[in-house]
């Protein structure tokens, strides 16, 4: 999975902000491009430290918007705030977008930017990506680039 640094940073920031509740959202991209371009942070309607769910009205609006833009959910992300950045049994059971990269972020080491001289954020927030298809979890490499146009176009995904 290839992602721009600014988008990765924004996902991590979202997870820090919502800690200790789970944060969730989508990065949409052009259909078939496998390129996560448009970050859409979503409200966690469950407002929970152990569960996340998009609000059903927000969900409809999101999918309509993506349809209108010829986009699809390239990344579906959420945070774990007390456990590792690996899909839980619930995540696996409820994963229903076989084409998406499921990104897991963990803020279990704490969500605050450690106060340091220079103020550089260095909090350890794990960021991992998985495919979840038919209950099978496959971790994939996360490749962070400054800009997508600085790398060769990813090869198109195979049809489902």
């Amino acid at each position: 999975m290839t992602i721009e640094r600014a988008i990765q940073d924004a996902i991590v920031e979202h997870a820090r902000r919502d800690h200790p509740d789970e944060a969730c959202g989508v990065v949409a991209g052009p259909v078939g491009s496998d390129r996560p371009e448009r970050l859409v942070p979503m409200l966690n309607a469950a407002m929970s430290t152990t569960f996340y769910e998009f609000d059903s009205t927000d969900l409809l609006r999101l999918y309509r918007e993506m349809d209108d833009n010829d986009e699809e959910p390239v990344i579906i992300y959420h945070s774990h705030t007390a456990t590792e950045a690996y899909p839980s049994r619930t995540d696996i059971a409820l994963a229903q977008e076989p084409g998406a990269h499921y990104v897991l972020v963990s803020t279990r080491e704490g969500a605050d930017h450690p106060p340091q001289a220079g103020g550089t954020p260095t909090g350890d927030v794990d960021f991992r990506s998985f495919r979840i298809v038919d209950g099978q979890v496959t971790e994939e490499e996360v490749r962070v680039v400054e800009r997508y146009d600085s790398v060769s176009t990813p090869s198109p995904r195979k049809a489902d």
Binding site: C24, V26, M42, A46, T50, F51, Y52, E53, F54, S56, T57, L59, L60, Y63, P73, I76, H78, P87, S88, R89, T90, D91, L94, A95, Q96, E97, P98, G99, D160
Partner: protein
């Protein structure tokens, strides 16, 4: 009369890959029965053992989540659009 039913990616294997299919019926329940006749197995993905909408499936009639409009008994008309979306949720 035909109702436009939007099928999410995860259920397109049932509809031969179609994103949108025509359905018939005067309630959501009847439309699902109609779809089941052509796309066997799809009902089980939408309706639970107790006969309600599955917890992690959302069905909308003209943009309204049917959980708030009478569930599977929600009426549909000729020009209605039904959208089916899997919940995005996890732990």
């Amino acid at each position: 009369m035909a109702i436009d039913v939007r099928i999410p990616t995860i259920l397109r294997p049932y509809t031969g890959g179609e994103r949108s299919v025509d359905g018939n019926g005067s309630t959501v329940s009847a439309v699902i029965e109609d779809l089941e006749g052509r796309f066997a197995g799809i009902r089980e993905r939408l309706v639970d053992e107790a006969g309600g909408v599955r917890r992690f499936v959302n069905i909308y009639v003209n943009d309204e989540d049917i959980r708030f409009t009478g569930g599977l008994d929600t009426s549909v008309a000729d020009d209605s659009t039904i959208v089916i979306l899997p919940a995005v949720a996890g732990g």
